[in-house]
């Protein structure tokens, strides 16, 4: 069992947990957290799986580097939308959500 495989498996669990969180949690901020955890899981799978024989691979590493920066932009946009929504309606959960 190599580091790459351990973290790839952890990434799978994180992705599943984040996906369940996005679907189940009502609070918008909490969903943003779940979305970020999902992304981190995907990044770990991407790099961990490519390095499962413990040889560093720069290609997935560069892609994940790009992904992290895009993830923070998506998070900021999501938070801006959540804040606007809350300012207009005074709630921090989406209407019509069960």
């Amino acid at each position: 069992m190599t580091s790459g495989l351990v973290f790839a498996l952890a990434g799978v669990a994180l992705f599943a947990m984040g996906a369940a969180g996005v679907l189940l949690l009502a609070e918008l901020m909490r969903r943003v957290l779940a979305f970020n955890i999902m992304g981190s899981g995907a990044f770990l799978v991407l790099v961990g799986l490519a390095q499962r024989n413990d040889v560093p691979d720069p290609v997935p590493q560069a892609m994940v580097l790009t992904g992290i920066v895009v993830a923070v932009a998506a998070t900021a946009l999501a938070l801006a939308l959540a804040r606007r929504y809350q300012a207009l309606g005074g709630r921090d959960e989406l209407a019509g959500d069960d």
């Binding site: 970020n36 923070v72 804040r83 005074g90 921090d92």
Partner: protein, 87 residues
Amino acid sequence: MSVALLFDLLLAAALLWCSWRALAAPTLQRAVVLFIVFGLLMTLAWARLAAPDIALAEAGIGAGLTGALLLDALGALRRRGGTGEKA
């Protein structure tokens, strides 16, 4: 079982526990702080995966900037009297 593998397993367990607590914590404040801790643990994981570039970016962006954004949003939520504080 080598020490390195043990450390990896512990770190993976800490990642999972931290993210679980961030999603299930009773207050949003605690959830956000746990998420920042999660980002720092991710930095360690990248270092273990021999990816110092990602570790640097994760520490600065994933934990630092995202954490600042989340805390700022939390503050705005509270000021407007949202339900930022539950239980």
